[in-house]
């Protein structure tokens, strides 16, 4: 996926870029609305993350004018009142908003929800056994059948796909899968791996347990 981050605070932008890149996405950073326009003219993005207060204008005004020319979904980043900003942002055509500081797992969940809702984003598909997994909207299908995955199973699968062929330890999986305000044990990981394993049998893929080290996905 390719993101455009429009954010004037340099440190925050850097941190966000680093963090998003960890998940294997590409991110361009624009520090002003002018730069954002340049970026949008030069490349196609799957999603725009837009700060509200920018040095050369209000992000929401940008949003209003932008709506006429582009279909790219926008998630507004706000540091202000959820009550008033939210109404304004959504009325002006943002697809969603997220309050700073944000949980990247939540941001990803919101991105996926937006992309699924829009349905128009470029497909980013990988093969897992006989199944096709769309990384953009998170659907796993075998032929025309969709294999229903719960959100955590989906996230787990994403982690495996993005780290194809690697052995992932339980600790690594905990780090990547869970929101940090939840107390998660490594036993929970075993439960989710177990479930995902079962669902993947239909696709002819399997998750191998590497004793003492972790898990590895075969078939992608």
């Amino acid at each position: 996926m390719r993101y455009l981050l429009v954010e004037d605070n340099q440190e925050l932008a850097e941190a966000v870029v680093n963090r998003i890149e960890l998940d294997g996405h590409a991110v361009d950073h624009a520090a002003s609305l002018a730069q954002a326009s340049d970026c949008l003219a030069a490349a196609d993005y799957d999603l725009i993350l837009l700060d509200v207060m920018l040095p050369d204008g209000d992000g929401r005004d940008f949003l209003a004018t932008r709506r006429d020319v582009s279909e790219t979904p926008v998630i507004v980043l706000t540091a202000r009142s959820q009550i008033s900003d939210r109404v304004g942002a959504l009325d002006q055509g943002a697809d969603d908003y997220i309050t700073k500081p944000f949980d990247f797992a939540e941001l990803e969940a919101r991105c996926r929800a937006v992309l699924r809702r829009r349905g128009g984003a470029a497909k980013n598909e990988v093969k897992i056994g006989t199944a096709t997994f769309d990384l953009t909207n998170g659907t796993l299908r075998v032929g025309d059948d969709i294999i229903e995955l719960r959100n955590r199973e989906l996230r787990l699968l994403e982690v495996f796909v993005r780290n194809a062929g690697q052995i992932l330890s339980k600790t690594q999986l905990v780090d990547r899968m869970f929101s940090y305000d939840a107390e998660v044990t490594e036993n929970a990981i075993e439960v989710y791996v177990g479930r995902l394993r079962k669902k993947l049998t239909r696709a002819g893929a399997r998750i191998e347990t590497v004793r003492g080290l972790g898990y590895r996905l075969h078939g992608s």
Partner: protein
């Protein structure tokens, strides 16, 4: 009368003093007039009696003779039971009469009446004297007739009248004091009306006072309104300040959080990972608190002037549910939404914020892969939004506790929270003349209901 004592009491007291002076004065004047009137009546009768007796004088056989006309005395008897004296004399010679009651009187000239009060037998006696000239043996002889009467009757009448006047004066005084109190209170009612209008106001209703006020109160109103204005301005400033502070706090927090997530991936040891997680949690906690404090401030501000817009609670529930769906998805929590059109009057933004806070709590405290249900329905003239979850429930603490600022349950465990969520919901609901109800969700979990009067 200290300067701090009530204006009403002071006014009443002053008016009562005036009434007292007027009462005494009027009593005195009435008494005086009554006495004079009684005396003048007696004087007139005495004069008439003396004149009648004088008319009865005649000359016979060279002597001045008198046949006393008793009608003259019966006339005097008409006034009272007072003793009557008479004396008829030519020069110094007494013709008839019981005593020289005119001893001290200088005989009046013919045709004139002399009146005087003398003391006779240790009693004040009023005496009227007339002089008539009788021709006796071709010679004019002046004869003086004096009629006197004690004054007991007159005093009696005067005292009587004085007493009556006294009673009337006291009655007048009492009435005047009563009326003064009423007048004082009436003229101060405007002040009371304004005071009540100010007293009735909510803590952040800072519109200027627009009550019609008498001229005398105008400076007070101006002073009051300028105070209100200054207060409103300082309140607005603190709101701006909160907004600004939230912004200033959250941007660096967002940076720290993102960096910590990146660092968490890079560090190897379990200890370091644990530390990174703690950092992320602390950041989440502060950002949540900042957000809710801000929400709370906004709610407090908006709640004072809730507009009467028609708001469909079903729509509110849809919006809030949509907003929290991704968060719920992360824990695989299903949010079940069942609604019917339920229109109430109020502020959509506030109601959304109330529900979002309740729902946020439900999602936050629910274990993964459970369900939260949101129901909107009408019952008995009320619209109700009920959010029930399968979380740890409320425990045993009194339910009031949860709607107080910064109070959290006993069984929240390690979950991040500021304890403001339900307070915000409650403030919103109360501003819409509704109530919030917290119950156990059939033994496991919590059930929060926002109950609002229908439009």
């Amino acid at each position: 009368m200290t300067p701090n004592s009530s204006i009403s009491r002071r006014l009443t007291f002053l008016l009562a003093c005036v009434a007292a002076v007027l009462s005494v004065l009027s009593w005195y004047m009435v008494t005086e007039f009554a006495r004079q009137a009684a005396e003048r009546t007696q004087d007139n009768i005495l004069e008439a009696a003396a004149t009648i007796i004088a008319e009865a004088l005649r000359s016979e056989d060279g002597e001045v003779r008198l046949e006393l006309p008793y009608s003259a005395f019966s006339m005097l008897g008409a006034i009272s039971e007072d003793r009557v004296f008479y004396h008829v004399a030519t020069g110094t010679e007494t013709l008839t009469g019981n005593a020289p009651i005119n001893a001290n009187l200088t005989a009046p000239t013919t045709g004139q009446t002399a009146l005087d009060t003398i003391t006779y037998q240790a009693e004040p006696v009023r005496v009227a004297s007339v002089t008539r000239v009788i021709l006796n043996n071709q010679a004019p002889v002046p004869v003086t007739v004096s009629v006197g009467q004690t004054r007991n009757g007159v005093s009696l009448i005067a005292n009587d009248l004085s007493r009556t006047a006294g009673i009337f004066s006291i009655a007048f005084f009492v009435l005047a004091v009563g009326l003064s109190a009423i007048v004082a209170r009436t003229s101060l009612r405007q002040l009371k009306v304004i005071a009540e209008a100010v007293g009735r106001r909510g803590p952040s209703d800072l519109r200027p006072l627009r009550h019609p006020a008498p001229e005398e109160l105008a400076p007070l109103m101006v002073a009051l309104n300028s105070l209100i204005d200054r207060l409103a301005r300082s309140l607005r400033q603190s709101e701006d300040f909160i907004t600004e502070a939230a912004h200033r706090v959250r941007t660096p927090l967002a940076t720290v959080r993102a960096q910590a997530e990146v660092a968490l991936r890079r560090v190897e040891s379990a200890d370091e990972k644990q530390r990174m997680r703690q950092i992320i949690r602390a950041v989440d906690e502060s950002s949540r608190s900042a957000g809710q404090l801000l929400d709370h401030a906004t709610v407090a501000y908006r709640a004072e002037n809730v507009p009467d817009n028609r708001v469909d609670l079903a729509f509110v529930a849809k919006v809030a549910t949509d907003a929290l769906q991704p968060t719920a998805d992360m824990k695989d929590i299903d949010i079940g939404l069942r609604t019917e059109e339920t229109v109430v009057l109020g502020d959509r933004v506030l109601l959304e914020s109330a529900l979002r806070n309740v729902l946020d709590n439900a999602v936050k405290y629910s274990p993964p892969e459970t369900s939260v249900s949101v129901t909107v329905f009408k019952a008995d003239g009320f619209g109700q939004i009920t959010v029930s979850d399968h979380g740890p429930g409320l425990g045993t603490a009194p339910y009031d506790r949860y709607t107080n600022r910064f109070q959290r349950g006993e069984n929240v465990g390690g979950t991040v929270g500021s304890g403001l969520g339900l307070t915000i919901a409650k403030d919103v609901v109360v501003a819409h003349r509704g109530t919030i109800e917290l119950t156990d969700n059939e033994g496991s979990g919590t059930c929060v209901s926002l109950i609002l009067p229908l439009a």
